[in-house]
Amino acid sequence: MARAVTNNRKALNTAIAWSIGLVIFFPILWTILTSFKTEAQAISNPPVFLFFDWTLENYAVVQERSNYMRFLWNSVFIAGGSTILGLIIAVPAAWSMAFVPSRRTKDILLWMLSTKMLPAVGVLYPIYLLFIKMGLLDTRLGLTIVLMLINLPIIIWMLYTYFKEIPGEILEAARMDGASLPKEIIYVLTPMAVPGIASTLLLNFILAWNEAFWTLNLTAAKAAPLTAFIASYSSPEGLFYAKLSAASTMAIAPILIMGWFSQKQLVRGLTFGAVK
């Protein structure tokens, strides 16, 4: 009897989880479906779900109008560069906060997080002026630095949480065996925190990929990533929903595929230390 209840509960939980998953995924599914419709079908009321004349015309138009590969490369460079640069800075910072905390460590952690609460537009003009002075406007390097700085508090916080779960005695033992600080971090700490570092890397890559304020405001023609590519198909005066959907699908496809293949690592990393 008890087993039957457990099975029923499992089935219910599965059904609820699938329902929530479908609700969350539905906008993406609808975008993908719309990208294969004509503009007239895209706005038809009642909307058509699967039974319409599928067309690749929107993709052809988008390919012809935009240099997709350039936007894609910029996205990969900026998201990848900012994440790696962020990790290089964040790993030692999180190590020191986790294993050799000072009286101010908690205050510093909270202060770092508070910078995320500042509306980005509040510092748009100072950053823009700095970029002009430093010749970084519309450059991949400039965007990489800005996105790294924006995501750095999250990277440090995540790594700090993972590092706190690692017993300090192990590191002490390594020190007793004569390991230097860099060796301790590279050969002892990092392998033990791989799931955490991997999920931090993935999450920040996704955050940087999707960032759409700085990437739109600090770029023009050369360094614009896929967020600018999508923005170029949005229009308040003209119905271009099917083309916009095709552009959106092309922009999210790489990150969607990457997320699909790395979901195990993501879940493992995000739940790392959640259950003691």
């Binding site: 038809s44 823009y128 002009i132 023009a220 600018a228 170029s232």
Partner: protein, 434 residues
């Protein structure tokens, strides 16, 4: 002989070098609409003629506005040409942020630009942006539904006629709404429509001392008329409808009438997208007999930011893109219905273009709009659906949010007007106008 050949080769090398030296790459910020995208497709023609290449930055209208404003106000120099509208041009021209468009070639024929357009894109008589295309607003209506209602649309109807016709055409059982109008919050969406409409009811935003005028009877008349009309004959949820939502409804045969931008005429008469393409008629925007109609005036225009290092090449591009030759190039390849409208007088004198069904009404609408004299009572501002002052966009967005709350049934007309009056006066006082 050898000497001659050497001299020829030398001359060729110098010519090649000089071409390379003057060839520039222009970065142009523009909006995503049909005409602008079409222009991008003809960029090769410009490159062939001048040697200059072009890199496009295409953005959604509101994103573009924020992006170019940041760049020009900081002298960032990210763009060599910007696509801006009638609202920004006189303000930026007055600030010295734009290069005056003087010294344009004789072949360009600057005198051919419609006076309403050149007037709205100038400051102190100096042209700061060249119109790529211009638009006003007009009535687009279903001829079959109008006939079924036993009525006939005049060329220049009144709001009373529109109200009567809308209620007669409404058929709730068949999801046909007598009229579709913008109600969405935003100064360029519902705010633009209600401001243009208020002009025909004798309202204005400010008196000559920059005092807000929402506590006057014409504003109450405007808003009450709009709300009653839309509640009786408008689509459900009209408070969130903008241009695209109404275009979609009209194309699917769910609107008897639609009053909006003249550029919509080419969309609703396109049989590929519209189910009612062969049943559309056009008329001037309505009035109330006070001498002002409820149509607006707008242009997307090309301007050169003062910080650019490529001023000469940028001028060459603007001359090419807004020339008579460009219009002929588009007509030759894609037909006269697809040329950018509303900018040049010669287009409307062209017999080929006169055959386009909405051409004459578009021209009449543009010619009847005067940004320098838009209100019945005198007003201190330039602009029809806006007041060309930097503070307007922020104030009008808040005011239109209050109005949209009325359309959604969240507050009364009186409450919205009282709030609009207070917030406008506060903002104008803070800005030093009062």
């Amino acid at each position: 002989m050898i000497y001659t050949v050497s001299r020829l080769m030398g001359a060729c090398a110098i010519a090649a070098l000089s071409t390379a030296a003057t060839a520039e790459t222009l970065t142009i910020a523009t909006v995503n609409n049909g005409d602008m995208i079409r222009m991008q497709g003809y960029t090769d023609n410009f490159t062939e003629k001048t040697g200059h290449t072009v890199e496009w930055v295409t953005l959604e209208e509101n994103v573009l506005r924020q992006r170019v404003t940041t760049d020009i106000s900081t002298k960032g120099g990210a763009f060599d040409i910007m696509t801006i509208g009638m609202y920004e041009t006189p303000i930026w021209g007055a600030n010295g942020w734009l290069v005056p468009l003087d010294g344009l070639s004789e072949e360009y024929d600057v005198g051919d630009i419609l006076p309403a357009m050149s007037g709205g894109l100038s400051h102190d008589g100096t042209l700061y942006a060249a119109p790529f295309y211009g638009e006003s607003s007009m009535i687009m209506y279903r001829t079959d539904l109008m006939e079924a209602a036993g009525m006939e649309m005049p060329d220049a109807p009144t709001w009373d006629f529109i109200g009567e016709a809308a209620r007669a055409m409404t058929d709730r059982d068949n999801e046909i709404n007598g009229i579709c109008l913008r109600g969405k919050a935003g100064w360029g969406e519902g705010g633009a429509f209600i401001t243009a409409m208020s002009n025909s009811f004798g309202a204005r935003w400010f008196d000559m001392d920059w005092n807000a005028q929402f506590d006057t009877q014409p504003w109450a008349d405007t808003l009450n008329f709009y709300v009653n009309l839309m509640n009786d004959a408008g689509p459900p949820g009209y408070a969130t409808n903008g241009f695209n939502e109404n275009l979609s409804l009209f194309q699917q045969g769910k609107c008897g009438m639609w009053i909006d931008a003249t550029v919509a005429a080419s969309f609703v008469t396109n049989p590929d997208d519209s189910t009612v393409a062969d049943k559309v008629g056009f008329a001037l925007a309505p009035d109330t007999g006070l001498g002002k109609r409820s149509n607006w005036l707008w242009a997307w225009a090309l301007a050169i930011p003062a910080g650019t290092q490529k001023e000469d090449a940028a001028k060459e591009f603007i001359e090419w893109a807004t020339s008579k030759e460009y219009i002929e190039l588009v007509a030759e390849n894609e037909g006269w219905a697809n040329v950018p409208p509303g900018a040049r007088a010669s287009l409307y004198e062209n017999p080929n273009y006169q055959e386009v069904p909405f051409a004459q009404k578009t021209l009449d609408s543009i010619l009847s709009a005067d940004p320098n004299d838009s209100t019945v009572e005198p007003s201190p501002y330039v602009g029809i659906q806006f007041a060309a002052i930097p503070e307007f966009a922020g104030i009008a967005t808040e005011v239109s949010q209050e109005f949209s709350a009325v359309y959604a049934g969240q507050q009364t007309v009186e409450e919205a007007l009282a709030k609009a009056q207070a917030l406008t006066n506060d903002a104008m006082e803070a800005a030093g106008y009062r």
